[in-house]
Structures are given as C-alpha cells and as structure tokens.
Symmetry: C2
Subunit: 219 residues, 2 copies
C-alpha cells in the first residue's frame, strides 16, 4: 500500500506540493503500548495510519484517562500536529493499541502546503469536523448515558474491532477508556454477568448474549 | 461597524469573492430568548456576531441541556452552517442570550468561496480549532471537576461577562448551562452562601466574596 493511494487529496496537489510531501515523509513502525505523542510539548506532525490502531486520550492532573477517539487504517491524526494551528489549545496523548505502521508528514511541510492549497485546507477542515463530531458524541455519552450502558456499548464496539466475542481486556483498561474508576467497571461487569450477558474470567470478558447486551448498549 | 472590518480574512479575498459575499449577506436583529438555529434540520449559514450574545448548546432526548460555548462580539459560528461540511454530524441549538445583531453569510456562498480560497478555508480551520479547544476544555470540566467548583467558576465567568457582582440568574438557568439538575444547583448555591461567598435572593445570585469563590473555582 502506497502513501499516494491512502492520502485522500493527493490528486488535487501540484507536482511541487506532492514532491515536497514525499521528500519529507517519514515511515514509522511502532510497537503496541508505545506512547507516540504526549501533550502540547510535542508537535509530531500529521499521522496517517497505514495499519494498526491508535488511541487518542486526555489525562487529568491526577492521572485519570478518557479515550477521545481511536484511529484505524487510513485514518488521519491532526492534533499530533497541533502547532500547525494556533487555535488548538489542548493536550492529547496518543498511544499505539496494536503494532502500528504509519506515515508522518512533518508539521512544517503540512503547514506550508495548507497555507496555499485550498484542497488540502478543505480536507483538513473535513478531518477536524469528523473528530469534532466524535467528541460531541462523547459529550452526549458522558452527560446523558449511564455507565452500564456505556460499558455495554464499549464491549460491543471492542468486539466489532477485534472480530471476536472473547475480549482480552482488563477492568482497568475499560475504566481508562471510559474515564471512570476500575471499581465501578468491576461492579457493572458483575451485574452484566449476573444478567447472563457476559462471562468473566481472568483478563477476559466474553460476550455470551449479544442480543441482551445490545438492548442495554443501544438505549 | 461594517462587516468588512469584522470579517478577519476580508483583505485576502478577491474582488469577485468579496462582492459575492456582500451580495448575499443578510443582516438580522434577534431578541433575547429567541432560538435562531435548531439542530441539523437548519442550515442557517455562517453567523458573525455584530453585537450581543449567543449560547450554543446541545439537548438530550429528555430535554436536558448543556452549554457548549458562547459567542460574543465579532465571534463566528460555523456549526450553524453544518451543511457546508459533510463530516459535521451533530446537532446544536443556538439561542440569543441578549438582543443580538448579526450578519448571516448563506451556507452556499460560504461553501463556494471556501472551496477555492485557501485563506478562507484556513480561517475556517482556525475557527473550528478554537471551538474544538472549548469543547475539549468542557470535557475536562465535566470529567475531572466537581459541580461545586464548576458552579463557582460559572458565577465568576458570568460576573465578568455582565460586569457586575449582582447576577440576575435563576438556579434553573445555571443548571441548563452546566448540564445538571436544578436541585443540585440549589444545594450547592446554599452551601456557597453558608460559606459567605455569595448571597441568594429571588432570581439573584450576588457574589459577596470574590476571593473565596475564586479559590474554589480555580482549583
């Protein structure tokens, strides 16, 4: 898979702009568990995921976490290049959830081309709007949805990502995704188990009734 | 105050683009309390606030509200023209908090010029990034800050906006801004009163110790 075929507005850039990107493009391979971007101190550049999975999250001063969104094949991470826009005033952390291959377009290159290219700038608008939509969805979840429903929905999402009903995931990890405490997750998972929706064993959550879980997760 | 002097990238648009905007520009005067944009059904256009104050909020299915951000003189509202980007997949409601004068650039006009103008598209990116930053700030508040601190911070913010320590605001309105229940607000306001930070009377919250309130609101 080539960069050119993964980058959506490639055909709308001039030869000079294309060469500028290709000349500065960096390929990186990252092991699962690695933090690749950490707050506003970094301006890593624009990330384009070739394969793998990234988690974008925020950290509280006390070290609590909540997942903002996740990135999969061909997704683009804009906020790892927050220095390209002065109005980006927040810190995110990015971690590889799986072994991940990605391309990095250095922030300076991207910024220079975006300043002169309406297609690249409009593409950037669409990427940011898509992330904005995910964040607004998250606010609605946090505000209006109880934690049992959020956990049910999260387990179904994980199952869809992993393609299995048997999820190797700890209660602590679920808590970090949803911005809550491990104890809360454990209590709710036990309730879901008592209702016959899941089965818990060490480090594993197995979905035993997708139907019942969906009823909870989708309301 | 003229539109041209309020619209930041005016000087970077061509004569044709400038005339296109001026020909389709609409001036509106809106009474306090009026809802001027309601969910995705509307594509009102881009709003530029000439004077006044707008509140942008989301609504739950049960009718609960939370303020996402507020717009003041010379601020621009992008999401009232959500049809200009297909990736904007969320609904907001916009209400005038005070009598407001604004200009509306029809969505179609804005979209046409943005498609060809890198300056306008980059400006749109900056506006969206600024709103994104406000929304990320809101998530941090909701996730990591207790309601007494959020109410203290809100009262200080209101006081700064209104230029007075005597705020004509109901408990219900505070609850809608912060996405909580009136009963919760009443309980916390009484606590703040018992600590000598505010004084409550019918429809009024008066700040009596800005120092003490700031200690709570800023932690």
């Amino acid at each position: 898979m080539e960069f050119q075929s993964c980058f959506p507005v490639w055909g709308n850039l001039s030869d000079v702009q294309q060469n500028h990107i290709l000349d500065s493009l960096i390929s990186r391979e990252i092991k699962a568990g690695t933090v690749i971007h950490n707050g506003s101190a970094d301006c890593t550049g624009l990330l384009l995921v070739r394969s793998g999975q990234l988690r974008v999250y925020i950290l509280s001063e006390e070290g609590r976490e909540i997942t903002i969104y996740r990135l999969f094949d061909r997704d683009i991470c804009l906020f790892s290049a927050s220095c390209i826009m002065r109005s980006i005033q927040f810190d995110i952390t990015i971690e590889a959830e799986k072994d991940t291959c990605l391309w990095v377009i250095p922030a300076e290159t991207y910024q220079q081309i975006m300043a002169e290219s309406a297609p690249l700038s409009n593409f950037t608008n669409e990427v940011m709007a898509a992330r904005f939509s995910e964040v607004m969805w998250l606010i609605e979840q946090i505000m209006w949805k109880s934690m049992d429903k959020r956990i049910a929905a999260f387990l179904l999402e994980e199952s869809a990502i992993e393609g299995t009903d048997r999820l190797a995931i700890t209660h602590e990890t679920i808590a970090k995704h949803l911005g809550t405490h491990r104890e809360v997750v454990t209590r709710i998972l036990r309730y879901l188990q008592s209702e016959g929706m899941i089965k818990l064993s060490r480090g594993v959550v197995e979905i035993t009734s997708r139907e019942k879980l969906t009823v909870i997760g989708n309301t």
